[in-house]
Symmetry: C2
Subunit: 346 residues, 2 copies
Amino acid sequence: MNLRELSELLGLSQTTVSRALNGYPEVSEHTRRRVSDAARKHNYRPNTKAKALATGRTMSIGHVIPVSTKHELVNPVFADFIAGAGEVYAKSGYDMVLSVVSDADEERSYRDMHAKGNVDGVIVHGPKRNDYRIPLLTKLGLPFVVHGRSDGVEHPYSWLDVNNRRSFARATRFLTDLGHRRIALLNGLEDMDFAIRRRAGYESALADAGIAVDPALMRSDEMTENYGFRSACALFRLPDPPTAFLTSSLLIAMGVRRAAEDHDMKLGRDISVVTHDDELSYFGNEGDVPIFTATRSSVREAGRLVAQMLIARIASADGGTEEHLLDAGLIVGQSTGPARPFPRQG
Amino acid sequence: MNLRELSELLGLSQTTVSRALNGYPEVSEHTRRRVSDAARKHNYRPNTKAKALATGRTMSIGHVIPVSTKHELVNPVFADFIAGAGEVYAKSGYDMVLSVVSDADEERSYRDMHAKGNVDGVIVHGPKRNDYRIPLLTKLGLPFVVHGRSDGVEHPYSWLDVNNRRSFARATRFLTDLGHRRIALLNGLEDMDFAIRRRAGYESALADAGIAVDPALMRSDEMTENYGFRSACALFRLPDPPTAFLTSSLLIAMGVRRAAEDHDMKLGRDISVVTHDDELSYFGNEGDVPIFTATRSSVREAGRLVAQMLIARIASADGGTEEHLLDAGLIVGQSTGPARPFPRQG
DNA sequence: TGCGTTAGTCAAAGCGCTTTGGATCGCTTG
DNA sequence: CAAGCGATCCAAAGCGCTTTGACTAACGCA
């Protein structure tokens, strides 16, 4: 059922039917009702491609999700981010188109999206420091919003981020207040903007507490459970091991927990862990007293907000940028306690 | 830069340029080269919408990912499945369009996709027993492939599944061989097809070992870490608690591990766990002797295969269906050992 | 009565591509 | 020499929608 058929069926012109359906005022209430009844009855939906071609708007938004070539890894927060964004898209009539792309092909992927014209805008995921995508997209004139920020980019752009620096400073401060002085930082890849900010927060809080930064306690890599496990095991073997860990994701924290338990240490008693928690739906670090003490910020909510920002930006192409800084709360759970000397084995 | 501009630039007709670019034979090698050089130079990409409208093919594939209204939960295996599928799409020039949809709106979502004509085919995720989507899509004539199967659907359709029944039978047998007789099953939601098959495998292996099925040891819910934790805690309180667990996802298994450790029990020594492992990239239940003994099958590889099947199906619309049953291997890890009496507290 | 105004409708152009159905040219063939 | 043919190329139609510009009928007003 297409517009022509529907209009013939009604004995009206395509113009009138189209206008009736799209809420234009130049059509009588009586006809409008007649048209929309018929449309509903025959389950008419305007053909997306034709509509897109005619209006120049595709009503779809691109997400380029990079797959690390090194580990073939997809960041698990995407699932929840996309759930949030998808919710908003569904309400606003947008489609979400995903390109899963090895990070080597990422730039071409953005260029193609623009040239092929199959999206009205894109969301930029996982910005690095001085991320090349921001000037690129600005130059192309493709509307975008960044989830995160990029230190080093001077010109204005729209972004939404959590206050990584502040929240990691708070978390560190929380640990030093508990008496910890050997605090390990298990961060994400060090070229990621968020990782840089988190480290800065950590270092500044250490400085405030008069503790020297020890590079031996700082690690960064892709945020897997195994990375947490291996790192913790290695750190336990140090002559002067840490009594607390600050980790950039729940997965890492779970790895630390596994390592601790393998060493017969209990979280919150023998060793403390604070993690960032994106509130992933299937993890559920919830409850009155959650498992992990955490800096918490819902990535799903971020998805919702970023999607709204982008839609607004597409609608009014006046180029005004918008910046949102979310505050991550510090939630105290079972994984932290006063510093204790490291329990030496044997 | 569009086709008209490019053809004017070259002093050729749009027809010729289009044919040159699409590899039709009616154009001389000399012109073809001239055209493709110019296209490359000006970074010309045919406009997707126009091409789609003209050809009737959108070159994109839909994935409807349902968000459980109950828990607002997105299955974390999607991220990896989509990574696999996306890889294939990228190679074949397809786009992936995602609809994140609360399961109440799911049916409408499929109907809309078909009526709006913005996808050439869809992939059906998470089939339940006798899933209504299969007859629906068949009726609509929208090409599809199911990831999983649906017991109760009679007419033929294309699917790819792992041998859930067999692999869970093997896993159960593995545990009974180790002397376990009280084996708990922590399954996914019981209306899911895979959950039904896994339970069937579990029950048949118990029967083979002459063990009566105890409903008190069987649970099913959405597969979160918390569900694993809470279930294990509850089961530990039984008068006759299980000595082993069979779980449907690594997340559940991690919950069980946490519960065990809270009860001062060690996996593989005091209690055994076998889990299904989708080889999610960020979990990495790897190594020579992985953490968990597991029935293992890569969901990313499944994504690749399903995508290929669908593309083939779209290309040759002759309606022949294809069925693939993958075998999940049983990998022995550190989480299993001979049965021991449950360590009573106090 | 004549004319401007307004509400309601329509025909046709255009979005950027593919594809059908010629057209042209240079050569070979009977 | 006329006809036929392959190799190239082109004009124009069509995909299904929106939107511009025009048209018609009805109405109010001087």
